[in-house]
Amino acid sequence: MIKIKALHKNFGNLEVLRGVNISINHGEVVSILGGSGSGKSTLIRCINGLEKVTSGSITVDEYDVADKKQLLNVRKKCSTVFQQFDLYPHLSVLDNITLAPINVLGEKKIEANKVGLKLLESVGILEKANNYPAQLSGGEKQRAGICRALAMKPDYLLLDEVTSSLDPEMTAEVLGILKNLSGKGITMIFVTHEIEFAREISNRIVFLDEGVILKDLSKEHFFSAEGGCLEPRIKKFLSKMDKNNG
């Protein structure tokens, strides 16, 4: 369970998160929606300690993110998939996937490779195992990024706008894979603009606006007429996004 209490995050004088409270249970698939600058990426970066919180607390299961020693345990439980993929360019796709399992979890190389190849096969890029990231298309890179995250056998998957750098075709590739993942017991937290996708796979929607949670509702409730749409800010956001998505 991830528990976030009274979370504040400032960058200098800029208040990005202004008192966020949220608990996420095991197995939930949560989408965090919000406009640019609403603080949604910052929120996800606070969960695995990539950003230091200004005040408030975050715990992942029994571990406190603010505690330096416990942070490594938090990070072993949470894997992140990044918007810009951020694969290690100097390593082959397979080595990208096995680097952390070998060095952090202490897995044997032969075992880690086996798992890595199986993951690559499951996302349809087995033949790219020995290529460098620079030889992959964007969609393939992000599929490799997902494999890298899954290889750590995380309890929580943090997905930070994972399709924002991809064209619609590649977006569909990646979302298809993530859809397969949901419902397999892994807790997923999406930061996304893909409203349709959020509607399709998540069971809970959190709408963030100017650093505070505007609505935190089940999917059904959020998209119903008496749910999220009662909030004018959300109504505007949804109608804009619907227009953009055709």
Partner: protein, 225 residues
């Protein structure tokens, strides 16, 4: 016209080879020490370790921005005067060249680490690597690919700089040239040969360097599909 080279003897060749050995040896020793020391200074400054980072910065700025010959005199004449110990020309040469090389290596180390996208740090941190593992597995291999061409040109430059140590009496190849020249008065034979020797050494370094460069940059050179 015509000149005779009766002044030359087979022993000159032996002397030349010995001098070459001294030059190469001093170059290798001071380059290795310089590399290690430079990496250390670079990392201390990159991690902004208090006090040590500032002290090393002042020191390496001094080494970078003053003539090597002046540094050499300072070490050779200064250390014995200051600490009342004897120091051989060879030791003075190694100390000076190591320190000088280190100050340049430090800059290369810092800039090539800082040139790596900060998102690589985030990615590695998010997977629970320790800071040492991040450096070793993620940042250093990428930095090395950027640093390699700079390190190779630094090495070639430092090879030429070793000729300065002849001034304090180290019998390196330049000093050997001087000795032979004094005896034979054949500067247009002696100095081209000495120059050519440095040239060949530099070419060897460049060749080794480009092989290393190729190795560490392979991932950046792959054809994009």
């Amino acid at each position: 016209m015509g000149y005779n080279n009766e002044g030359f003897s087979i022993y000159d060749l032996q002397l030349l080879i010995e001098g070459l050995g001294v030059s190469v040896w001093i170059f290798l020793v001071s380059t290795i020490i310089g590399l290690l020391l430079g990496c250390f200074i670079g990392l201390v400054r990159f991690y902004r370790i208090p006090i040590l980072a500032q002290v090393l910065m002042v020191l390496s700025e001094f080494l970078k921005n003053s003539p090597v010959l002046v540094q050499l005199f300072l070490v050779y004449f200064g250390i014995p005067a200051l600490f009342a110990i004897d120091i051989s020309p060879f030791q003075a040469a190694v100390i000076t060249l190591s320190g000088n090389t280190a100050s340049f290596v430090a800059i290369i180390v810092i800039s090539s680490i800082e040139a790596i996208d900060k998102r690589q740090l985030d990615a590695a941190r998010s997977f629970a690597f320790s800071e040492v593992q991040i450096m070793k597995c993620v940042i250093f291999p990428q930095s090395l690919s950027l640093a390699m061409p700079l390190l190779v040109s630094l090495a070639i430059n430092q090879l030429q700089v070793t000729s300065l140590i002849s001034v304090i009496g180290v019998v390196d190849i330049t000093r050997v040239g001087d000795i032979i020249n004094q005896r034979t008065f054949e500067p247009f034979i002696v100095w081209p040969i000495i120059g050519l020797t440095y040239f060949i050494l530099a070419k060897v370094i460049a060749t080794v360097g480009s092989l290393l460069e190729e190795k560490y940059s392979a991932y950046r050179m792959v054809n994009k599909l």
